[in-house]
Amino acid sequence: MLEYVFILPLLSFAVAGIILAFGKWLPGKGASAGIAVAAWGFVQALFMFVKAMRGGLTLPYEASIPWFSFGPHQATLGVYVDGLTIAMLIVVTAVSLLVQIYSLGYMRGDPRFKRYYSYLSLFTASMLGLTVSDNMLVFFMCWELVGVCSYLLIGFWFEKPSAAYAGKKAFITTKLGDLGFLVGLLSLFYCTGTFRISQILELAHIGFIPPAAAGAAAILLFLGAVGKSAQFPLLIWLPDAMEGPSPVSALIHAATMVAAGVYMVARLYAVYILSPAAMDTVAWTGAITAFTAASMALVCFDLKRVLAFSTVSQLGYMMLALGAGGFTAGLFHLTTHAYFKALLFLAAGSVIHAVHSNDMREMGALKNKMPITYITFLLGTLALVGIPPFAGFFSKDEILAAALARSPYLYAFGAVTAALTAFYMARALVMTFHGTPKDPGKYNHAHESPPVMTGPLILLAAASVVSGWALSRHEIFARLVNFEGVLPFELRHISHGAVALYAGITAVLSMGLGAWLYKARPGIPAMLRGKFAAIAALLDRRYGLDAFFLKIVAVSDSLSAVLFSFDFNFLDAIAIDGWAWLTEKFSRLQRWFDDNIVDAAVDATGTVTLFAGRLTRRAQTGLVQNYLFFVAAAVSIFAAMAFATG
């Protein structure tokens, strides 16, 4: 069973290429191939899960083939499977499968339908590769590839300038984080001498890696997760990523790719726990992200963006859990969140498909028109908010308990965020589905989506309702995904029951308040917004984060213009062409020197010679006796000199 894991990403890669090349001739323009492979993957993952639960698998499993060698080292292609891998595989394949089915309806008639399915398969392949890779080099490669797929899919409707812009923004923002990832990866390599995950974990476990070096590498790698999982302050790209088709948001920007950062931290958890500083960085980044994103969701009117902020916030929860030492809690939330957030995005997609708008102010009362969408959205909301006994309650409760055990301040962030979450989700639910139709034209046009779309909604709704309860029964999830290692800090003793009780009460009250305010007293939120306009504006501007990064872009643009001007006007025009100019001037000087000095000197030599010649010519008389006289004279002079010196 495990020895065939490598097929999963390979098959998806192959199918991505096949759809692009031959999709025209395949049933459903290639969609069938993508769906078949995703279904295959899901079944295989499910089998592994069941077998692992029954204790039929020896984990971790590892196998690799050599890929290429560089100097004394060898890069490999291989798989590493443990409980974490299996849990992630199920998430990825399940959501990918449902999203691809749903897209049959959502993307029907799109002129680039074939390409869409090819991209989805490429994404799934990369995500599966990232999940199963046995080494950090291939992990990093797949990490980058999912980023590119995200770029391609956010900008899928690239005729729209905002979509093209959002794709670019997402790519570059995550790339900024990836610089940290790259440097972290390099330093991890020099700490351990290998990219193999199992070896890295082993070396970390036996204390071979110095804690300071491990901490530095861990924090640098975490920068990559900050970009990929849209953590503070790099969260700016995810709301804009909603320009992509809704199923893409569900798959990539809710369930899988954005969770890759969390997965990475979990994968290298043995390295992270070597350094309290790294753990605290993770925890506090998560806490701050959870809170800021939730607060931004309060004032947002775009349905998908509300969900995007919510995703950011929930990813913050997962980081918070990991940083606080709640390994299983964070990954449990990753799993449940994948289902209910994918559900919410697909349900929102169903709404948008019906009313052709993202703006909740143009919706309202849609529950009458779209009952299935409404019910499933409601169930997803209950799961996200954490109303017992829906999925989110179980996982969020674990996180809050872990946070409290680590630090009351972390817990405070988590608890406040939970209240905000319940509030903004109630707001979104009411504005979209309850009340009166705000835009009668859109309302009248609205209709329930076809079964190919509502089917996946129902399945995801079922998962959202039961997954939390089912997976925590008999500690199923905890047995599959756990970490045995010594945390670098002491945990406080807390009462788990109290946390659960408080979390449940907060969720119910806060959601009730939100629903009541927006349904019965819509004037109050509007009044509050007017009264605290400054705060609302700050939240709308996303705490100025966008402006901050745009400022950086502007500064680099000016710098680049200045450097180009330096290059063109100074370096080339003066330093290089100046040389040529000087050389030319010098050669002119030389020429003048030649003409007036050297030549004159030569001419003068000629004149002098001529003159001397004229003089000496007088001696050339042609008479032999004269010459003999000169000879005799010369001989006498030489003889006299010889005697004198002799």
């Binding site: 890929w67 290429f68 060698s69 560089f70 100097g71 004394p72 080292h73 080099l137 990093f140 490669m141 797949c142 980058e144 590839l145 590119v148 770029y151 900008g155 690239f158 005729e159 729209k160 300038p161 979509a163 093209a164 812009y165 794709g167 670019k168 790519f171 570059i172 790339k175 900024l176 610089l179 790259l182 440097v183 390099l186 330093s187 390599f189 020099y190 872009v553 680099s556 643009d557 710098l559 680049s560 213009a561 450097l563 180009f564 290059d567 370096l571 080339d572 330093a575 290089i576 062409d577 040529a580």
Partner: protein, 491 residues
């Protein structure tokens, strides 16, 4: 079979043969040029195939006395350092010649110079005698001068003379360095392998002077900051096929020279120079990418990105380890493929629109899916996307250099971000967004790439993918020689 001589002299023979054909017989001239470069490619392909990957020793050696009085030999051979670049030279020349079939001006002379250029470049990469190396090195100069000066853009004369004088200036210093090596060897020799054996014994001071003289010649070719300003001008003014050769091959002669001669012959000076070299590498990376970001002309942007990419080569070289050298040599190959095809792609759009102004386009992605796809793939390769060739080489350069220069590497990583920024911005402006109706007049048939263009670009795109997925295709050849070379440096 004197394989290397065949590889070098087939293009030269082709050039001579073209001289004998009347200039009106354009088809014959094109056919002959194609045949000569194709035969050369076949021989190079065979060389690639027959090359023994298990040894670091020189292979396919041919050695004949040439000017015995000065101990100058016709001596050629290849090892892992040169074999891949020889094949790349043959390939890029072949596709450039195919692409250049659209040249209508003075066709006969064009292909004459082009084949002469090919012979010169190949000669540089196979020479084992430093004098012969110098002869071939200078032989590339004259054809390039004419190719830019006659068939170039609006500023062609200025660009050509600048290229010529600048490079000549550098190579004169290189000649001084070569002579200094000659007169300091006993017995006097130009034999590179012999110089490697003897060179380490020279005094540090002398080594430094020789190193700097050689470096000036090589650095101008690479081009290393601050000797790079001829490059954007020459690349932009040159016709498309010639830009491909300039970026793809001529720049590599500088890197190759340093790896082949400067490092192994002058190890003490190399160690002395490294702190400067790494700084220059980082400047090339950051400065090159930032200046590229300021460009509004597509071709100039690609040209400046070459400066950035050569910086990665230098970064890998500064590592002084097998990892870094592998990366640098592979980067020579991958940059040749990627930037070569980028120049071809820019040429395709320029031939249609007669402009390269990035702002003049918009939304081409809708009308030109194949062209857009190829462009996006090569741009992604250029910014180091995994799965494509650029990633492996750049990653190895970074990985190698990190051991010795972690902080410099951390800074140069920013170059990746800037490269991504300006290339994606270019993609956005040219291909995405609403279609710019200004180009609606071009009918679909004129817009789509024709067979000649596809035949030139597709092989490069395929190789970009192959090397990205299976780097052993190149690394297996390179690695043994590199390991040996690093051993020599650390002796």
């Amino acid at each position: 079979m004197p394989l290397l001589s065949l590889i070098v002299f087939v293009p030269l023979a082709g050039a001579l043969a073209i001289l004998a054909i009347p200039k009106t017989k354009i088809k014959t001239i094109q056919g002959l040029a194609l045949a000569a470069s194709a035969v050369c490619m076949i021989f190079s392909g065979y060389l690639y195939y027959a090359f023994d990957k298990t040894t670091a020793a020189m292979q396919f050696i041919e050695k004949t006395a040439w000017i015995p009085a000065f101990n100058i030999n016709y001596s050629v051979g290849v090892d892992g350092l040169s074999v891949a670049i020889v094949a790349l030279t043959a390939l890029l020349t072949l596709v450039s010649i195919i692409y250049s079939f659209n040249i209508t001006l003075r066709v006969k002379e064009f292909f004459f110079w082009f084949l002469l250029l090919e012979g010169g470049m190949l000669g540089v990469f196979v020479s084992l005698d430093f004098f012969l190396f110098y002869v071939f090195w200078e032989l590339t100069l004259v054809p390039m001068y004419f190719l830019i000066g006659v068939w170039g853009g609006p500023q062609k004369e200025y660009a050509a003379i600048k290229f010529f004088v600048y490079t000549l200036f550098g190579s004169l210093f290189m000649l001084l360095g070569i002579l200094a090596l000659y007169f300091n060897s006993t017995p006097h020799t130009f034999d590179m392998l012999e110089l490697v054996n003897q060179g380490g014994m020279l005094a540090l001071n002398l080594q430094i002077w020789i190193f700097l003289a050689l470096y000036l010649g090589f650095a101008i070719k690479i081009p290393a900051f601050p000797f790079h300003t001829w490059l954007p001008l020459a690349h932009v003014e040159a016709p498309t096929g010639v830009s491909v050769i300039l970026a793809g091959i001529l720049l590599k002669m500088g890197i190759y020279g340093i790896l082949r001669v400067s490092f192994p012959v002058l190890p003490l000076a190399t160690a002395w120079f490294m702190p400067f070299f790494i700084v220059i590498a980082v400047i090339n990376i950051i400065y090159g990418s930032l200046v590229a970001m300021a460009q509004k002309d597509l071709k100039k942007m690609v040209a400046y990105s070459s400066i950035n990419h050569m910086g990665y080569c230098m970064l890998g070289m500064a590592a002084m380890t097998a990892i870094g050298f592998n990366g640098a040599v592979l980067q020579m190959i991958t940059h040749g493929l990627i930037t070569g095809s980028l120049f071809l792609l820019v040429g395709v759009i320029y031939d249609r629109a007669h402009t390269r102004d990035i702002a003049a386009f918009g939304g081409l992605g809708v009308r030109l899916p194949v062209y857009t796809g190829l462009m996006v793939i090569q741009v992604m390769a250029s910014l180091g996307l995994p799965g494509l060739a650029g990633f492996v080489s750049e990653f190895l350069c970074f990985l190698g250099a990190f051991e010795a220069w972690p902080y410099y590497v951390a800074v140069s990583a920013i170059g990746i971000l800037i490269t991504a920024a300006f290339f994606l911005r270019m993609i956005e402006k040219v291909f995405l967004g609403p279609f710019n109706e200004k180009w609606a007049g071009l009918s679909d048939m004129n817009l789509h790439m024709n067979l000649r263009e596809l035949a030139a670009i597709l092989p490069l795109a395929v190789l970009t993918l192959v090397i990205g997925l299976w780097p052993r295709f190149c690394l297996d050849l390179i690695d043994p020689t590199i390991t040996y070379l690093v051993g020599m440096l650390n002796r």
